[in-house]
C-alpha cells in the first residue's frame, strides 16, 4: 500500500472529524443563543403580572361621623390629614358583606384591601373636600395576595393551609366578581412611587432617581479624570520609564479587580475615613467612578492612538503648541471613540450592584431621593432587594424592574453604536 492509498483510506475518517467539529461549533453557538433567549423570555413572562393591578369598587360613605370631623364650610389641610380614613374602608366592606360578624372574619375581610388604599382616599378628600358628607363609589387598590390570586397565580384547588389566601376570601372575591366590583388596570404606580414593603404599592421611581444621581456623580468624576489621565499617558508620559509602566500595569489591573473590592474601598476610605454619608448617591458615584475610570482610560487611549500622526505633525508644523494640537485636533477627532467607550463604561456602572451593597445602598428607602446626599438605592440593588422578598408578587415586580434596567442599558449601548457608526473616521 503506497502513501496515496494510506491517505485516501484515512480521508473518510478525517472528513467525518471535520464535519463533527463544525457541528460542535454550531452547537456551542446555538447553546449560547438559546440561553440568552431563555433568559429574556423567562424574565418577560415573569414580569407580565406586574403591569396590571387589581382594584375593588367600594361604596365609600364619607360621613362626618366616620371621618371624625365637624361639618363646616372650609377645612384646613392639616385637619383632613389627621382624620382616620381606614374606618371608611372597613365600613364600606362591612356594608358590602353584612353577614360577616366574627372578629377573625372581619380581619380577613379588611385584608382584601391594600393598606395603602386609605392614603388614596385621604388624597382624594384633600383634593376635593366637597366629597365629605356624600357617598361615592371608589375603586381602591386590592391587597397583593388578592391581586396575585385574581391573576390566577394562586391555585384555588390547593388546601387552604398551603396558600396565602383563605377559602372565605375566595368566596368574597367570587361575589365581588359577579357584581362587577373587581377589575384589573394598568399599574401606573410602578413607575411613579418609591419602594414599599407592600408589593402593590412598591415602585421604582426612587431607585431610578437614585441611579440617575449616582450616574451623574460617576460621569462628572470619571469622564474628565479618565480623559485627562489617558491624554497624559498617551501624549506626555516619558517612554520606557519604570513608573509610567507601574501606572499602566495598575490601570489594566484595576479593570480586572472584582467590583466588590471597590466596595470595600468605598466603605473604609470614603465612609469611615472621609465621612461621606452612607447610602448616598455621592458615595455610590464615588465608588463607581473608580470602577469606570480604567474603562474610560483604556478606550480614550485607543481612540487617541488611532488619530494618525500626520495630523499632529501638520498642526505642529503650522506652529501649534503641543496642548493646542491636542485640544484643537487630537481630542475632537478622537471624541467619537472616547464617547463610545465612556457610554459603555457608564452602562457597566449602571448595572453594577455588588460594591453598592457595601456602602449601604441596600437599606430600605421608601422616600424618593431629592439630592446627592439623601439615602437612596439604585435600580440593580432594588432588583436585589425585591428578589430577596418573600411575597409572591415581588417576583413579577423584580422582573419588571429588570426589564426597565435592560431597556436603559440597551438604549445606552445603542447610542454608543450609533455614535461609532456616524462619526467613526477610517484613516
Amino acid at each position: 500500500m503506497n502513501n496515496t492509498q494510506i491517505v485516501q483510506k484515512s480521508l473518510k475518517k478525517r472528513y467525518a472529524k471535520e464535519r463533527r467539529f463544525k457541528i460542535y461549533g454550531v452547537f456551542s453557538i446555538i447553546v449560547s443563543l438559546a440561553f440568552l433567549l431563555f433568559l429574556l423570555v423567562d424574565i418577560v413572562l415573569k414580569s407580565t403580572p406586574a403591569f396590571t393591578q387589581t382594584y375593588i369598587k367600594l361604596d365609600i360613605d364619607f360621613s362626618y361621623k366616620v371621618l371624625n370631623i365637624d361639618p363646616k364650610p372650609n377645612y384646613t389641610k392639616d385637619e383632613l390629614f389627621k382624620s382616620s380614613y381606614r374606618n371608611l374602608i372597613s365600613k364600606a366592606l362591612y356594608q358590602l358583606f353584612p353577614d360577616v360578624s366574627s372578629r377573625k372574619q372581619k380581619r380577613a375581610l379588611r385584608k382584601l384591601i391594600s393598606s395603602g388604599a386609605q392614603y388614596h382616599l385621604r388624597d382624594l378628600v384633600i383634593e376635593r373636600p366637597q366629597l365629605i358628607g356624600t357617598s361615592q363609589s371608589v375603586w381602591v387598590l386590592a391587597d397583593d395576595d388578592i391581586d396575585t390570586f385574581f391573576k390566577g397565580l394562586i391555585d384555588r384547588n390547593l388546601p387552604e393551609a398551603d396558600r396565602r389566601i383563605k377559602d372565605i376570601q375566595i368566596t368574597w372575591i367570587d361575589k365581588l366578581q359577579s357584581k362587577d366590583r373587581i377589575k384589573r388596570q394598568f399599574n401606573a404606580s410602578f413607575l411613579t412611587s418609591g419602594d414599599s414593603r407592600e408589593p402593590e404599592q412598591a415602585g421604582i421611581l426612587g431607585a431610578l432617581k437614585g441611579s440617575l444621581y449616582t450616574m451623574l456623580v460617576t460621569l462628572l468624576l470619571s469622564f474628565p479624570i479618565g480623559v485627562a489621565a489617558a491624554v497624559y499617558l498617551e501624549e506626555f508620559a516619558p517612554k520606557n520609564n519604570w513608573w509610567i509602566d507601574v501606572i499602566e500595569v495598575n490601570i489594566n489591573n484595576l479593570a480586572a479587580v472584582p467590583s466588590i473590592v471597590f466596595g470595600i474601598l468605598g466603605l473604609a476610605v470614603y465612609i469611615n475615613l472621609f465621612g461621606v454619608p452612607r447610602s448616598a448617591p455621592l458615595a455610590g458615584g464615588l465608588v463607581l467612578s473608580l470602577m469606570t475610570l480604567p474603562t474610560i482610560i483604556i478606550a480614550t487611549r485607543a481612540a487617541i492612538k488611532s488619530v494618525p500622526p500626520s495630523i499632529r505633525e501638520a498642526a505642529l508644523g503650522l506652529g501649534a503648541s503641543k496642548i493646542q494640537v491636542i485640544t484643537h485636533h487630537v481630542l475632537p477627532l478622537a471624541m467619537p471613540g472616547i464617547l463610545t467607550g465612556s457610554i459603555i463604561g457608564m452602562a457597566q456602572a449602571l448595572g453594577e450592584s455588588a460594591p453598592l451593597l457595601m456602602i449601604g445602598m441596600v437599606a430600605f428607602v421608601a422616600d424618593i431621593p431629592q439630592g446627592f446626599f439623601d439615602p437612596s438605592t439604585v435600580l440593580p440593588v432594588q432588583i436585589y432587594i425585591w428578589s430577596d422578598s418573600p411575597e409572591r408578587a415581588f417576583i413579577a415586580l423584580t422582573s419588571a424592574a429588570i426589564i426597565v434596567l435592560l431597556i436603559f442599558l440597551f438604549l445606552m449601548n445603542l447610542l454608543a453604536v450609533l455614535l461609532r457608526n456616524k462619526f467613526e473616521t477610517k484613516w
Partner: protein, 474 residues
C-alpha cells in the same frame, strides 16, 4: 451657604477673573504700544483663572475630606465621658451626636445629657471649621489672583505657563490609578492585620469550620465564632470550576467557529448578539439563577435521588439537594463568562498570522486539523491568558453566588448542595448591623485582602502572558 454653594462661587469667580486677566493683557498691549503680547490674550485670562481656582479648590477639597473626622476627634477630646466609652459605643454615640447636630433629631440611646452637650460642641466646631475653610480658600484665591494679575505684561510667557500647569493637572489625574490601588491595599491591610492579631492566620487559612457568629451571651446556640476559611475557598473554587467547565469549551469552540468557519456576515450578526450576554448586569443573572435555574437543578436532584432509590445506587439515594446550589450558580456564571472567553480567544486567534494557516492547508490538512494542530498551539499562551482572566472574574463575581449559592459554609463536592464563597461572606458580614471593630467585620476585610491578592496575581500573570504573546506575532 454650604460646600456646593462655595464651589459654585469659586467656579464663577474663576470665569470672571478670566475676563479680568484677558482685559488687562489687552490694555497693557495698547499702553506699551509697539510690543506685541507673547501669547494670545486668552492665555493671560486662563492663567489668572487657573491660579485663582486651582490652589483654592485643592485646599477646599482636602479640608472637606478630613473635616468631619477632625471635628469628631476634637469633640471627643472635650468630653471625658465620651473618652471612657468602648470603641463600639463611642462610634454609636458619635453617630447620634452627628445626627443631632445636623438634623436636630434625637434617638434616645446612651447618655442624653452628654450627647446633647456634645452635639452643641460638635456643631460649634463644625461651623468654625467651615468658616475657616471658606476663609482660607478665599484668601488663597485672592492671593493667586493678585499674584498673577500683577505680573501680567506683554513679555510674560502666559501660554507656556498655562500649558505647564495643564500637564501637571493631567499627571495628577493619571496618578489616581495608583492612588486607587494604594487605597484598596490600605483599606484592607490594617483591618486584616488587626484580624490576624485576634485570629491566628493558620486557623484562617487551614481551619475547616466557618461560623462567624460570635456569642453575645454565653450558651448561645450556633454561635461558636470560628474563622476557618477553607469551606469558603472551596466553595469559590468549586463554583469557578463548574463555570469554567461550561464557559471554556463553549467560548473557545464558538470563537474558533466564528473566526475560522463562519462567513463574515454570520460573524457580524452572531458576535454582537452573544455580546449582549456580557452586557447583562450580574444581578439579573443572579435573579435568573435563583428563581429559574435553581428550582430546575433542585427538581433534577430529586429525580436523581428517585433514580438512586429505585436502582439502589447508594450515592444517589443519599444525595443532599437544596434550592441554592453550586451547580445553579456555576451554570449561570459559566454562561455569563462565555462571551468574555469568546472575545478574548477571538482576538488571539485572529492574531495568528495567515501564513501559518496557508502552510498547514498546503500540506493537505483539513480545517479542523489546522485549528487543533497549528492555530490553537500557536495561540495557546493567549488562550490560557484569557482563561486566567475569566477565572479571576469567576472568583470575584458576587451577585450570582450571593443570590443562588447560599450562605451555608458546607465543605462538599456535591454540586446539588449549597456552598458559600468569599464574596458572599464579605457581603453578608459587612451589610448586617455591625460595629465596625468586631472580629466579624474584620474577617470580611481579611477575606477582601485574600480576594484582592488572588485576583491581582491572576490578572498580572494573564495580562503579561497575553502581552508577550501579542508581541510575538506583531
Amino acid at each position: 451657604m454650604n460646600d456646593l454653594d462655595f464651589f459654585i462661587i469659586l467656579l464663577t469667580s474663576a470665569v470672571v477673573v478670566f475676563f479680568i486677566g484677558q482685559a488687562k493683557a489687552r490694555s497693557r498691549q495698547e499702553s506699551t504700544s509697539g510690543i506685541r503680547l507673547h501669547s494670545l490674550p486668552n492665555y493671560y485670562g486662563y492663567l489668572t483663572a487657573l491660579w485663582t481656582f486651582l490652589p483654592a479648590l485643592g485646599v477646599f477639597l482636602v479640608w472637606s475630606l478630613f473635616e468631619s473626622n477632625i471635628v469628631s476627634m476634637l469633640t471627643i477630646a472635650k468630653f471625658t465621658q465620651l473618652q471612657q466609652l468602648s470603641t463600639d459605643n463611642l462610634s454609636l454615640a458619635l453617630n447620634e451626636i452627628k445626627i443631632l447636630a445636623t438634623t436636630g433629631i434625637y434617638y434616645s440611646n446612651g447618655d442624653a445629657n452628654i450627647n446633647h452637650q456634645a452635639a452643641a460642641v460638635y456643631s460649634k466646631y463644625f461651623n468654625h471649621s467651615f468658616n475657616l475653610k471658606i476663609l482660607v480658600s478665599t484668601l488663597l484665591a485672592l492671593l493667586g489672583f493678585t499674584y498673577t494679575y500683577l505680573r501680567i505684561n506683554p513679555t510674560m510667557q502666559a501660554r507656556n505657563s498655562v500649558e505647564r500647569l495643564i500637564v501637571y493637572v493631567l499627571l495628577i489625574c493619571a496618578l489616581i490609578a495608583i492612588l486607587t490601588t494604594l487605597g484598596i491595599l490600605f483599606s484592607v491591610l490594617f483591618e486584616s492585620v488587626e484580624f490576624f492579631s485576634k485570629v491566628p492566620i493558620t486557623e484562617f487559612l487551614f481551619g475547616t469550620h466557618w461560623s462567624p457568629q460570635i456569642a453575645i451571651y454565653e450558651d448561645q446556640a450556633g454561635s461558636s465564632g470560628s474563622f476557618g476559611a477553607v469551606p469558603l475557598f472551596w466553595g469559590t473554587i468549586f463554583i469557578s470550576i463548574i463555570a469554567m467547565m461550561i464557559a471554556a469549551p463553549l467560548g473557545l469552540i464558538a470563537a474558533i467557529f466564528l473566526s475560522e468557519y463562519a462567513t463574515s456576515r454570520v460573524r457580524a450578526t452572531i458576535k454582537p448578539i452573544l455580546e449582549i450576554l456580557a452586557g447583562v448586569p450580574t444581578v439579573v443573572y443572579g435573579f435568573f439563577a435563583a428563581l429559574t435555574i435553581g428550582p430546575l437543578v433542585r427538581d433534577f436532584g430529586y429525580y436523581l435521588r428517585e433514580v438512586g432509590v429505585n436502582l439502589d445506587i447508594e450515592i444517589l439515594a443519599n444525595l443532599t439537594v437544596s434550592t441554592e446550589s453550586s451547580l445553579a450558580a456555576g451554570l449561570v456564571m459559566g454562561m455569563m463568562i462565555v462571551p468574555f472567553i469568546l472575545s478574548l480567544s477571538d482576538d488571539v486567534i485572529s492574531a495568528v498570522p495567515d501564513a501559518m494557516r496557508d502552510g498547514s492547508t498546503a500540506l493537505g490538512a483539513t480545517k479542523s486539523e489546522t485549528v487543533w494542530k497549528v492555530i490553537v498551539p500557536a495561540a495557546l499562551p493567549g488562550i490560557v491568558g484569557g482563561f486566567l482572566l475569566a477565572i479571576s472574574r469567576a472568583i470575584g463575581e458576587t451577585m450570582i453566588v450571593l443570590m443562588a449559592a447560599g450562605v451555608a459554609a458546607n465543605l462538599t463536592a456535591n454540586p446539588m448542595n449549597s456552598v458559600t464563597t468569599i464574596t458572599t461572606q464579605i457581603v453578608t458580614l459587612l451589610t448586617g448591623d455591625q460595629e465596625f471593630d468586631s472580629v466579624k467585620t474584620l474577617a470580611a476585610f481579611a477575606l477582601g485582602l485574600g480576594l484582592f491578592i488572588t485576583t491581582l496575581i491572576l490578572n498580572i500573570i494573564a495580562l503579561h502572558v497575553v502581552r508577550k504573546y501579542r508581541e510575538q506575532y506583531e
